[in-house]
Point group: C2
Chain length 423, copies 2
């Protein structure tokens, strides 16, 4: 007897028909001899409708009340999924995040899971019930306030519950067939990855791949929980996200490269004419950090010998751009820089693969491919299993295809549906 | 400093604009120097929409999951009302029924409140917050399942909370100006009652008056909680439902009659040709009780001397009619009756007033008025402060107007909006 945790996103729960389809799928898993615990997001547009109502009532609603409001969405979908399963003749119990024992900190709207105490779930599974749990939500430790987990919250709920229940697998159902070697909307020849390591998936998610949220992958990696990302619209195998080979040895058939991710959501700030003295960069990055801005890549140019000044560039989420620029301008005299340049016409491309650890030729192939396609590289950063570059945004798609081809990732195109994955 | 509990129904919370209007009203009450705890129903059509979704998913959904689903309605309205209040610059906290300490039995869909432990409410009021509570819902003792209270549930929540918090008054806001001496849609000259006793209100509610639900009045009577029924669309005084004069003496200015209620929702069953032997009536009513049918009025005809048989008639909710008839037909041979007659073309009229205890002329005036209007009376029942009669349904309106006039209850008509009061 296996224990399977499944997660269905809002696009798989758009209406009554979709809910019945999902219920059939859940019942099939149960009939195959598994215990089943299912995490659901809110139905299709519910969250947007609730946000719209909130906006009509108050332009800046209290985060505590916003969480109260939004958690109604999963409450509805979990009850409806449970009803559809009961209608198929199977016993079922739904639980809110709080009832499921998802304990979080008190940061409304972006709470972090700090513990999972799934006593009621374990008990319901022990009584042979199918269990449905509201994703995206929890209850704060001590204060017992209702919280939401923010973006990617339902995926994280699923992985956290799977870990706490010691499930055999966490299946994340979405509207695509799995993780692809690149975004098929940009690289039509991208192919589905059958297996990828937690480490690689983490780099892919951090580099802009949108199917799995970073937090969920981090959680799975920490608890060694295998994730199976697959489509709720087909029964095809999807992509397995699994622990890397513990020996660290490269399997002969293991691909060197997992895939190519991209990100169009970043901007670049260049602080021009910074005095080349110790402590100036520190001042700049302290200012940015205090403004709650997360910096991604950093480049400090070589100092110009005749002026004793240098330029410092960094990338950051476009949504934080204005805040960062304002914070920096407030320190212009103190730091003594000349000006700020803000550039939101950049794209980031990342090549991810555990095999690059032991394959010294990867960088050469990567940069040759970009050079061959005439792509101008503005910034570079690397990790052990990733190389990222920043390009002009209008060169990004071409860069993606060139790199994808250079690493032999292309396949015959396959039909995929690609869209948002809910929360 | 007074503590005011207010309750707003779904028709007062139809959309964002209504919610803002209600928020203003709540804030005014707070500004007037009161602590305020507000119970809300689900917005306008929310409950119907959720019921519709449930029906699309399953024709007979499990009651537990139905309660999970429906409680999302109050969760949304309470969060939105709280946001609107915060937007007016007042601190506010919303609480679900469970968080508010509304402890019920485990009867999903029709749970009864068995305790209220409002520790979080008291604490929030102590911190000067306005408190919003989801009506209609609670949590079951021991099993901690989410329950709903059934019809009139939000009113009952409000009165129960008011009693537990030892509030000074429980204000029930609706879309009419208060309780009227008769339904103004039927008797245009009905006038608003300024004050009515719990006992009288209980008889009115039990006799078909729809503004306050029976359970809510029972609760208020038991805990001596004054209720002020008033319109959320005006600032006029409504109707006070208060404890009767403890001395039991009739105030000179106290009206003898509180009002006239009517009910079109009952049917009449006549069991024809019952052997006039001890135990036959007992068999009949045991059968009906086992079918979970609540009987209202009963008439046993005088036995016909030549046959040794009699007829027994009783009234019951029309919605229970089929079940009662089927149950009775199953005992036809055992009881030995001849046949069953089912009649849903009846109406019930009830005259209610504490003054009839000490005014022997009331019955005479009542029956004279009905006779004068040519109304045929089919059944009669009385309590200390009520006389009820059953008539043909097409004579009910005329009967109401005749009785209303005979007891000098008529006034110059006043404009009222009359509609549903939510749940």
């Amino acid at each position: 007897m296996s224990l399977v945790v499944q997660k269905y996103g809002g696009s798989s729960l758009a209406d009554a028909e979709s809910i019945k389809r999902v219920a059939h799928r859940i019942v099939e898993t149960k009939k195959a001899g598994n215990d089943v615990c299912v995490v659901v997001s809110a139905m299709g547009d519910t969250t947007d409708e609730l946000l719209d109502l909130a906006e009509q009532v108050s332009p800046v609603p209290p985060p505590r009340e916003m969480d109260m409001l939004l958690t109604a969405g999963e409450r509805m979908s979990m009850a409806l999924v449970a009803m559809a399963i009961a209608d198929l003749g199977h016993s079922v119990r739904s639980f809110t995040g709080s009832q499921a024992g998802v304990i979080t900190d008190a940061a409304h709207g972006k709470a972090k899971i700090i513990d999972v105490t799934p006593g009621r779930i374990t008990s319901a599974l022990g009584d042979r019930h199918i269990v449905i749990v509201a994703g995206f939500q929890g209850v704060s430790q001590g204060t017992k306030e209702i919280t939401t987990l923010g973006r990617g919250g339902s995926d994280t709920t699923a992985v956290a519950l799977a870990a706490a229940l010691e499930a055999d697998v966490c299946e994340i159902y979405t509207d695509v067939d799995g993780i692809f070697t690149a975004d098929p909307r940009v690289v039509p020849s991208a192919r589905k990855i059958s297996s990828i390591s937690h480490d690689e998936m983490l780099e892919m998610a951090a580099s802009g791949a949108k199917i799995l949220h970073l937090r969920c992958v981090e959680y799975a990696r920490r608890f060694n929980m295998p994730i199976h990302v697959r489509s709720s619209f087909s029964s095809k195998e999807g992509t397995w996200v699994v622990t890397a080979d513990p020996e660290g040895t490269q399997d002969m058939e293991e691909p060197i490269i997992a895939g190519v991710a991209h990100d169009r959501s970043e901007a670049k700030i260049t602080v021009v004419g910074v005095p080349d003295e110790p402590g100036r960069a520190g001042q700049i990055f302290t200012t940015v950090a205090k403004a709650q801005v997360n910096i991604d890549m950093i480049v400090q140019n070589v100092s110009e010998a005749d002026t004793g000044r240098t330029d410092i560039s960094f990338t950051l989420p476009m949504s934080d751009g204005q805040r960062a620029v304002e914070a920096l301008m407030g320190t212009k005299d103190e730091v003594g820089f000349a000006s700020i340049q803000y550039d939101d016409q950049i794209g980031k491309l990342s090549l991810v693969g555990a095999g690059m650890r032991t394959n010294p030729g990867v960088s050469a192939t990567f940069f040759s491919a970009l050079a061959g396609a005439g792509i101008n590289i503005e910034m570079i950063s690397t990790s052990e299993i990733r190389i990222s570059v920043v390009t002009r945004i209008d060169q990004l798609d071409e860069a993606l295809r060139a790199v994808h081809t250079a690493f032999d990732l292309d396949t015959e195109g396959e039909a995929v549906v690609y869209g948002g994955t809910g929360r």
